[in-house]
């Protein structure tokens, strides 16, 4: 299922036939640690797809994102993003990301528009000003997330929801093909989550984005995504959101649950009730999601 990117003609171009993300038997071990953070992950995300990545804390979700962004290099296997190396894809503005924690200082003296432009102008030659095309992309990004009227407001005078929309505008300001979201709805109420899902749908429709949303929260995953990958060190299953049965969840969150209730035994047959019955459920083994 490939899809062109109709709404973002002015952004950097990507080959529409390449998968947005292709992990081939990827393992990564942090230096000085025994166990790998992710192991034997094979994952393919087609362009235009909306993938939810569900997993417990410490299950390797952030590592997965860092591998996509080229911040980490796999110890084994290979990662391709839109047909190129992750670093190339990121440098050419094809990948937008909204981080889990906003580590920035809110008293920072910049306006909403300046904040959105940080990403798209970061690689501009110092003597150049953003051209009409780039300014148009900034305008469009702010319009799509609904912060155009806040353009001149200092970043420190925004509500939490407004700030998040500004950060999304920043992530899509380079006209990317792929948008990564790390725990975007943590601490947001149900109504806020619904509005957020609507926003993602709008972005997907208007920009033809591929979206990967990572979370440990089941509710924020199901809203709107085509497919769910469950990860706890390795990718356990690929399934439609409806396939997230209690058994699958129990398997993925086994360690979290075990920490609270003691070891839980899951019937392997029950847990395999997703669209790919061929995978293994053993922790620590190369349980590839897809053959």
């Amino acid at each position: 299922m490939t899809q062109a990117t109709p709404g973002a003609p002015s952004g950097p171009t990507s080959d529409a036939t390449e998968p947005a993300i292709a992990f081939d038997r990827v393992s990564f071990r942090y230096p000085g640690t025994e166990a790998p953070a992710v192991e034997g992950v094979t994952l393919r995300v087609e362009q235009g797809e909306f993938l939810g990545v569900l997993g417990p804390n410490g299950g390797g979700k952030s590592t997965l994102l860092k591998l996509v962004l080229g911040r980490l290099r796999p110890t084994e296997g290979s990662v391709r993003v839109l047909g190129r190396s992750p670093a190339e894809a990121v440098a050419s503005g094809l990948v937008g990301v909204v981080a889990q924690k906003f580590g920035a200082e809110l008293a920072f003296p910049i306006s909403v528009r300046q904040c959105v432009e940080l990403r798209s102008t970061a690689r501009l030659a110092p003597w150049r000003r953003p051209d009409a095309k780039a300014r148009g992309r900034t305008d469009r990004a702010m319009e799509l997330v609904g912060v155009s009227d806040l353009s001149r407001r200092p970043i420190g005078r925004l509500s939490g929801g407004q700030l998040q929309r500004v950060l999304i505008a920043r992530a899509i300001s380079t006209g990317p093909s792929l948008l990564l979201l790390d725990e975007p709805t943590v601490g947001i109420d149900v109504e806020g989550q619904r509005r957020f899902a609507d926003l993602l749908n709008t972005l997907r429709r208007e920009l033809g984005l591929t979206i990967v949303l990572v979370s440990h929260d089941v509710r924020s995953i199901v809203a709107g995504c085509d497919r769910v990958a469950c990860i706890a060190r390795t990718v356990h299953s690929h399934t439609s959101p409806e396939g997230l049965t209690p058994a699958v969840l129990a398997e993925v969150f086994r360690h979290d649950v075990a920490g609270i209730f003691g070891e839980v035994h899951v019937d392997a047959h029950d847990a395999a009730s997703c669209d790919d019955p061929s995978h293994t459920h053993d922790h620590g083994h190369a349980g590839e999601g897809r053959p």
Binding site: L69, R123, P154, G156
Partner: protein, 293 residues
């Protein structure tokens, strides 16, 4: 008005003007840098690097580069020795805290104390040696610690302006990635920017700025110029260019005001400048408190 008398005195006027020229360059430079120092929370590392400069001065004294009547060559030699010492200290702190930036705290403490101690021993050694050889004594430790306006001359003005143009020029070139990395480090890393290198660059620029500033304000008070203008500006505005402009204005007013204060009241330049800046800071803090009520 002793300041006016000095300025119009045919023999002292030139010296005074050169000192003022150096002070203006220092104020400009520190005004802009102070915004980044406050935003990136580099105040303590700035303090560490400026104290490390004392070690560099001690070393320069031993090499005979820091006599009281130094020519341009000697001044430049001393400048490069101290700059090298400060950059090495800044990079040392960065290296010691490479895995965990919260460890910078301890690393700065170690470098600060170590460099101060070595500086004192070297300075004492150089002074004793000069006395035994019957040479001109090196500048007093007090001058190094608290700065002096009267010893600023043509060489200082030249070095100060060269550094001001160089550092502000480099900052202008990297302003966009630097701003991004200062505002949101995580996002800047994810955007593939060389955030660690930008931080090292900023530390090196800061080290050079400190060495220039310490001739006026001394090792102990150089950081006053590198913190207070930015702190004042950020209390008064949330607009980027307004903050930079305000910081430069505060820095100029505080520095020149401090120098005049020093002349009128026969105070030392470093503490006078620091006190002038502190007064502006307290007014700004008051303004903010009233606004927030």
């Amino acid at each position: 008005m002793r300041t006016y008398d000095y300025l119009t005195d045919p023999s002292l006027g030139v010296q005074f003007s050169l000192g003022l020229l150096a002070a203006v360059a220092i104020a400009l430079l520190c005004g802009v840098l102070s915004v980044l120092v406050v935003l990136k929370r580099l105040a303590f590392i700035g303090q560490g690097v400026s104290h490390a400069a004392f070690g560099g001065v001690g070393l320069a004294m031993v090499f005979g580069l820091a006599s009281t009547e130094a020519g341009l060559g000697q001044e430049l030699g001393m400048f490069f020795v101290v700059v090298a010492f400060c950059i090495a200290s800044a990079l040392g702190v960065a290296w010691l805290s490479r895995e965990d930036s919260s460890r910078a705290d301890t690393a700065i403490g170690v470098v600060l104390a170590g460099a101060m101690a070595i500086g004192f021993l070297l300075a004492a050694h150089a002074a004793r040696r000069a006395q035994e050889a019957g040479e001109l004594p090196p500048p007093s430790i007090e001058t190094v610690l608290f700065g002096s306006f009267l010893t600023l001359g043509g060489a200082d003005a030249l070095i100060a302006w060269a550094c001001c143009v160089l550092i502000l020029g480099v900052l202008w070139l990297v302003r966009r990635p630097m701003l991004f990395a200062s505002f949101d480090e995580e996002a800047a890393i994810s955007a593939g920017l060389p955030v660690a290198k930008l931080r090292l660059l900023l530390l090196c620029l800061l080290a050079v700025a400190i060495v220039v500033t310490m001739r006026l304000a001394g090792v102990v008070l150089a950081t006053a110029l590198l913190i207070l203008p930015g702190a004042v500006a950020l209390r008064l505005s949330l607009r980027l260019w307004a903050v930079v402009g305000l910081a430069v204005a505060v820095s100029l007013v505080g520095t020149i005001g401090g120098v005049v204060l020093a002349f009128e009241l026969d105070w030392q330049a470093g503490p006078s400048v620091a006190v002038a800046l502190l007064a502006i800071f307290l007014v700004a803090e008051g303004v903010r408190a009233i606004r927030l009520r």
